[in-house]
């Protein structure tokens, strides 16, 4: 059995569309870049100011002027473009970003995301997350289904929301869930996970139409 984060990253990778512009959040979402399906060409944006970045250069060949939004060294692929923060957020907020993949602390029944602060405990700041959720055409949340056994998908957020906007899709190691007008729709279940197990690990009502299909994931053979 693959670990939870890898399952999530492999499933999210199937949401990537050819010739799209995608921003991956720090942490789990970054893993998605490792599973881009064969035949799909995606430009990744890093909000500190680049489209078209690639894997870290060989040791000793890093540029101090070329990093990702987490501060890690990156390389630039042919066709890459760099720009300042105003341009970067014009891309994000202006409807030019096809998809963002973000980590999550909680998602509620109305599809709102909380992912930037745990008041009194961790106050890192929202960084670009609020702009990404407000502006990306699709917002995909990539997160583990529970936190130490406690559901992260709940009826109503008890952490401050990142945006009033409803996210497009939630991918966990157990399920794929789509927030809709009617509520949270269970679209897929992970291999070897039953609907009952998903319901037991979810703190919000799920809309279930019959037996949901098993989640496809990008296999190692198909990843570019």
């Amino acid at each position: 059995m693959r670990n939870a984060k890898e399952i999530i990253a492999r499933r999210v990778a199937l949401e990537l569309r050819d010739h799209s512009l995608v921003n991956l959040g720090i942490g789990l979402p970054t893993l998605v870049a490792s599973y881009v399906p064969v035949g799909i060409s995606v430009a990744f944006q890093s909000e500190n100011g680049i489209i078209g970045f690639g894997a870290p250069p060989p040791e000793g060949m890093e540029s101090p002027h070329l990093t990702d939004a987490g501060g890690g060294f990156i390389s630039a692929l042919p066709g890459a473009a760099s720009f300042d923060s105003v341009t970067s957020f014009a891309l994000i907020r202006g409807g030019h970003l096809d998809m963002t993949v973000l980590g999550g602390l909680q998602v509620d029944a109305s599809g709102r995301l909380a992912n930037w602060v745990i008041p009194g405990k961790i106050v890192p700041g929202m960084g670009g997350a609020m702009d990404l959720v407000a502006g990306a055409k699709r917002v995909v949340v990539a997160m583990q289904h529970t936190d130490r056994g406690k559901p992260k998908i709940i009826e109503k957020l008890n952490l401050p929301p990142t945006s009033a906007r409803r996210v497009s899709l939630v991918v966990t190691e157990m399920a794929v869930i789509e927030p809709t007008d009617e509520g949270l729709r269970l679209l897929e279940r992970a291999p070897g996970v039953s609907v009952d197990e998903i319901v037991a690990s979810t703190g919000a009502k799920l809309l279930i139409d019959g037996e949901p299909p098993v989640m496809p994931i990008v296999s190692a053979e198909n990843a570019a």
């Binding site: 890093s46 909000e47 500190n48 100011g49 680049i50 540029s63 101090p64 002027h65 070329l66 990093t67 990702d68 939004a69 987490g70 501060g71 630039a76 760099s82 720009f83 300042d84 923060s85 105003v86 970067s88 957020f89 994000i92 907020r93 961790i122 106050v123 890192p124 700041g125 929202m126 960084g127 670009g128 997350a129 609020m130 702009d131 407000a134 502006g135 401050p160 929301p161 990142t162 945006s163 009033a164 906007r165």
Partner: protein, 217 residues
């Protein structure tokens, strides 16, 4: 561009209690030599405006660590435990601003705009105390312009007129901040004669820059 000064002179020009915009993203594209000089001078009570507070040993993080700062306006402080510690003890006042909103507020401040309308933050704590304006059925927050006494920029090249270029992701907030302060000090990696930077390559026109920080001696 008026003159070319040492980092120490730049630090001496900035009084305690000044508000300063700092270019830089987690220390990348950060005016490190002037920051070191401000720490060495023992600056106090500064208001710093920038994307983040980097790390305790990098970029503006050094100013936080050295106790130079009273107020922070930034989008992210998660990489600097000292910022969080001092915020909790009340030694430091922190205003968190969404990254894109920060960029646009600075742009508004530097471009003569009375504010900006953004969808970012609607329905969140960021909206508290702010006017929500409906435009064609969508909700926007009215965010106010931001200016500072000083902008400290890090550039790649500067010419003798103060025209600036930047490298890759080291540009970040530097170009927009060049518009939004009463005194703009640029710290370039290299200073070249006028004409070496082609006009099309100039990202910040030299007329915006008051002082260049001299080369490393």
């Amino acid at each position: 561009m008026q003159d070319c000064i040492s980092p120490e002179k730049a630090a001496a020009m900035i009084p305690d209690g000044a508000s300063i915009m700092f270019g830089g993203f987690l220390g990348v594209g950060s005016p490190d030599r002037v920051i070191d000089a401000l720490v060495a001078r023992g600056a106090r009570g500064l208001t710093i405006i920038g994307n983040d507070t980097a790390m305790p040993t990098r970029g503006v993080g050094k100013l936080i660590e050295a106790g130079c700062v009273a107020h922070v306006k930034a989008s992210h402080i998660g990489t600097n435990p000292t910022t969080q510690k001092k915020m909790i003890t009340g030694e430091l006042e922190v205003e968190l601003v969404p990254q894109g909103t920060l960029a646009e507020r600075i742009r508004a401040g530097g471009c003569g705009l009375g504010g900006i309308l953004t969808p970012t933050g609607v329905g969140t704590v960021v909206a508290e105390g702010k006017q929500v304006i409906e435009i064609d059925g969508a909700s926007f927050l009215l965010e106010r312009p931001l200016r500072a006494d000083f902008a400290l920029l890090r550039a790649h090249e500067a010419d003798h007129f103060g025209n600036l270029t930047y490298r890759l992701t080291a540009a970040n907030f530097n170009p927009v901040m060049a518009f939004a302060a009463n005194c703009v000090i640029a710290e370039p990696d290299e200073i070249v004669p006028v004409g070496v930077i082609p006009p099309d390559a100039v990202r910040t026109p030299g007329v915006l820059v008051h002082h260049l920080v001299r080369r490393v001696q």
